[in-house]
Symmetry: C2
Subunit: 598 residues, 2 copies
């Protein structure tokens, strides 16, 4: 079986590029060690291989469907959830008092990367549940956590995020689901929620929906939205599962990919009362959701990375095995065909994939390490870390979503007709990943978030911090001559990007908000490419440091890192200039286009 | 129902951008008139709407499968073929003596554009048959044409191209199917062919496979390959269909898209003898195939365009209807959400689609008009037309294959979650079109063809001719001030592209073939973008000429053309510089990457 990720690379990212092995110096991780992390990662790989990879295609071919009023999944999904629970991964990053291992977030993300690469659709049930529980951990009352979160950490109950409605997807401000206060302080919930992943299934004893709704009389817009815990089945005094809470499955969505993750239309309060509990104060719903958004968006970004990664692995395997054609310099028809990995254009496609997925993984794990710094790093730095993480989040979410799709297109192309069939996995990854630029905030939303909010908050302190870190690494890279190409290209790209952004943002008042944001999605590339270039600089630096003492496979691995960095310098970073020019020009072509001209 | 193409645009391309209405001045088309062409196009649209669009999704959801040893398709496919036959479209471009209308190739392509946009998969059965018949028309003997081609033009028999084998897809030089001369001058064919579209079905009375095979003792490589007519059922003396010819279905390929087009693995000579007739002389097989390749590749390019076009239409419709969010300048939560077509980023995605698909259509039809010039234009110009067409063909095939995928990604993105589901057609188009960069010569093959052959043949005369035509149009555009942006951007891009190409090609001997071609796929973009920019200049010129006398919808249509041209100038052509720099540098990064470093 083709591996779905490179374990060597995951180790490299965590322990050679990032300082993960030093996290046990922090009090929260004092019980840990490098060996603990290695063991956890090995366990994750084994669970992913045995219980996730085994049914990725089966679940794709046998979509969730309604049978006897219940949503049926292939049985292997439940086995995967049980194996995950038995391995402790529903609670691994939680406090010991909640049964967790207090795993750092960066290790948690590396663990989840295995499940995502092996089977993104089944990983969805786990990750939605973890996201839901994480929100409860921060905002729910102690009683609520005991009631709702504990069974989720025990892997017995599952969770969803129920935000969108049929008429309100990206525009959450316009949701109309209502919450009416009941005498006992709970709320009666009525409305319809759309695109709810994991909204109905029989994987566990209960499903806890986190529902955005409006309390009667609340103001219009986002300020009138509150957040509610709404179980599928009501919960008895003793915590056991009781009668139906009248959350009714109104339909399943049939998607291009991610087919194993059931996606639902749910009616709340149909055929009886749906009762929910408010989380925190009224009117804080969207703010609470957004507080968790960094985590969720990093998670989506890493999911995208891992789909691309699995495709890269598959096409790399194929390129080594498949023999076809001859080099241009050798047209002797009697010579044997070469392995296609020898063809320059195939190498180009493999290098591009390598750059996108290993660069994306470096970025995702870097962001996850910032989450750790935010929670457990030096107190004095936390405000800065927060601003930096805020700035990077739209890039961490959108960049891999976009470029993993490019990588997967290359994976298909390397494999030719075979890649276009269901006999190989890459067409499935390609269908799966196309969701990632849509959910958890579309590219347009990420672009507006980056350009309209993150770059300007705290007087642009986030960008300042980012540049300081990048400049420090650029400086340090000077000692390795083999990094010169990337160092110079990155310096140039960074200069172009920051000049363009500062130029544009400096004219914000003059331009007005519509024109300022007219090309905001370009900002994702404009800053994203240098940021990933920086991730390659960090990887190549680590490789260059290790190379002199390395031999055999290790030396090959490090040479590949250094060479991929050169590829990023020559083939990717020169694009930055085009984006910089466009953004700096505050181009009005789209604004001036009239709908009736189409 | 959302239209699958803009009939207004098709008219514009044929009669306002191209001089199609003047073709009746040529003797072969003397019976024609603009009205004849309009009628034919109306008929094509109606057949496409009624008999092709009706089952596009049905055929996608109900893939061809084997039942009782036969390949079953949804019944609507056969109805579509019958309607197409009854409308005369199996023979429309053929000579009157063969029952045809002698339609020009450009009109034939415009006709087929309708079927492709309405249902690419079902159009495949028609187009494979036409391609097969076209090859016979040029290379088969009169007896063979009577025997094999006539029933195909009558829509009774169908055709395939049987080139690839399991171990030889892109590398056709290595095929091993054998042909052994029989006493009666026919050949006994043995071997296995892979990826044969339309290889088995019950749509007609017979299937004629055009099979590449090696006669025993033939030299290795392409020079030893001959072409054979191999019917599924042997043909009786009276032309009727006889016993099985032992072409055995060994399996169906299950693809990501294009699902309605059955794709087969075929064994020739299994369980009995398979008899075929040679086409022309031995050893000419690949040359004969390549002679038809221009047509086939233009056809694939236009197919890609039409998938993108149908997606553009669907997302445009959706963007007008769907209301979501507010402009950045208007955050009042009490204001109603706007139609998403008002959002700058949605306009950007629609403009990009418009540029890619309308530009691609202009290019495809321009190439088709060159085929007409080659066959019926002034004799003295034909050699030049041939060189120009040869040069453009790899771009006509590859550019829309790549950029329609970008367009379709945008179509999905505009439609958000809805676009990702099977409730709308765009996810299907996206899956369908991903085949186009693979079949009929991969991108890598097109790149090598362009850079390694077409740009240098006849001492670069093709590029000279292209530049002369482009410069003439650039000159003519000077009279329209509203075209200045595109005119200047195109002039710059063209200069960058030609300088880079001439620079690289001038060093060919020094670089050697491997390095010369190391980045050849980049040449497809490098020349493709200016060529499509030129197509936009031609469209915008036609629109600018017509605008002063236009009102209402017409004026809006023309303004849209002029504005899209500006978009292409601002958002697309600046990319050319990046490709020019890469190609001119003769970058060796891919060549130097070692397989073991991945």
């Amino acid at each position: 079986m083709t591996p779905f990720l490179s374990r060597r690379d995951l180790q490299f990212q965590l322990f050679e590029v990032l300082d993960t092995a030093r996290l046990p110096e922090r009090p929260r991780f004092a019980e840990h060690s490098r060996e603990v992390y290695d063991d956890v990662l090995n366990l994750a790989y084994n669970v992913a291989e045995k219980y996730f990879a085994n049914h990725a295609r089966e679940a794709d071919l046998n979509e969730p469907h309604v049978e006897g009023g219940k949503v049926k999944l292939v049985p292997a999904v439940k086995e995967a959830m049980e194996a995950t629970r038995d391995a402790g991964f529903f609670s691994a990053h939680h406090d010991e008092e909640w049964g967790g291992l207090q795993l750092p977030w960066v290790v948690t993300q590396a663990v989840q990367a295995n499940f995502k690469a092996a089977n993104i659709a089944s990983s969805g049930y786990l990750l939605l549940t973890l996201g839901n529980a994480n929100l409860q951990r921060v905002f729910a009352s102690p009683e609520q956590k005991e009631k709702y979160m504990r069974p989720m950490l025990e892997g017995r109950w599952f969770g969803t995020m129920a935000l969108s409605e049929p008429h309100a997807g990206s525009g959450l401000a316009d949701i109309t689901t209502t919450a009416t206060l009941r005498e006992d302080g709970t709320y009666s919930i009525r409305g319809t929620k759309m695109w709810i992943s994991g909204g109905e299934h029989e994987l566990g004893e209960n499903i806890v929906h986190l529902v955005l709704a409006r309390i009667a009389g609340a103001p219009a817009g986002v300020k009138g939205i509150s957040l509610f815990l709404v179980p599928r089945y009501r919960i008895n005094e003793d915590g056991s599962v009781g009668e139906s809470n009248n959350v009714v499955l109104a339909g399943l969505n049939h998607k291009m990919g991610y087919r194993g993750t059931t996606n639902t239309l749910l009616n709340f309060g149909e055929g009886g009362e749906t009762i929910g509990e408010i989380v925190g104060e009224p009117g804080r719903g969207l703010a609470q959701m957004f507080h968790m958004m960094n985590d969720a968006r990093i998670g989506v970004g890493i999911g995208a990375v891992m789909l691309g990664y699995a495709g890269y692995m598959a096409s790399l395997d194929y390129a080594r095995e498949r023999h076809q054609g001859r080099l241009p310099s050798s047209k002797d028809p009697h010579s044997p065909p070469v392995a296609i990995i020898e063809h320059a254009d195939v190498k180009r496609m493999l290098l591009r994939q390598k750059c996108y997925v290993e660069g994306g993984l470096a970025l995702g794990l870097y962001a996850a390490s910032l989450v750790d710094d935010l929670n457990t790093g030096p107190e004095a730095e936390r405000e800065d870390v927060h601003l930096l993480l805020d700035l990077l989040t739209p890039i961490v979410k959108s960049w891999p979503s976009k470029y993993s799709q490019e990588a997967l297109s290359d994976a298909i192309q390397v494999m030719g007709g075979a890649g276009y069939t269901r006999d190989t996995p890459v067409e499935m990854y390609y269908r799966d990943n196309r969701l990632n630029p849509i959910h958890e905030g579309t590219e347009g939303i990420q672009g507006n978030d980056l350009l309209g909010r993150k770059l300007t908050q705290a007087n642009g302190r986030g960008l300042e911090l980012l540049l300081a870190r990048m400049q420090a690494d650029l400086k340090a890279a000077e000692e390795h001559a083999e990094l010169n190409d990337l160092r110079v290209a990155l310096g140039t790209a960074l200069e172009q990007a920051t000049t363009a952004l500062q130029n544009l943002l400096g004219r914000a008042a003059e331009l007005g908000p519509d024109r300022l944001l007219a090309n905001s999605t370009t900002a994702l590339d404009l800053l994203g490419h240098p940021v990933v270039g920086w991730m390659w600089l960090r990887q190549a630096q680590a490789a260059a440091r290790a190379l002199p003492g390395s031999r055999g496979d290790d030396a090959d691995f490090y040479r590949g890192k250094v060479h991929a960095a050169r590829f990023f310098a020559h083939y990717e970073l020169p694009k930055v200039r085009v984006w910089a020019d466009l953004l700096a020009s505050a181009d009005t072509t789209t604004l001036e286009m009239q709908p009736e001209w189409f």
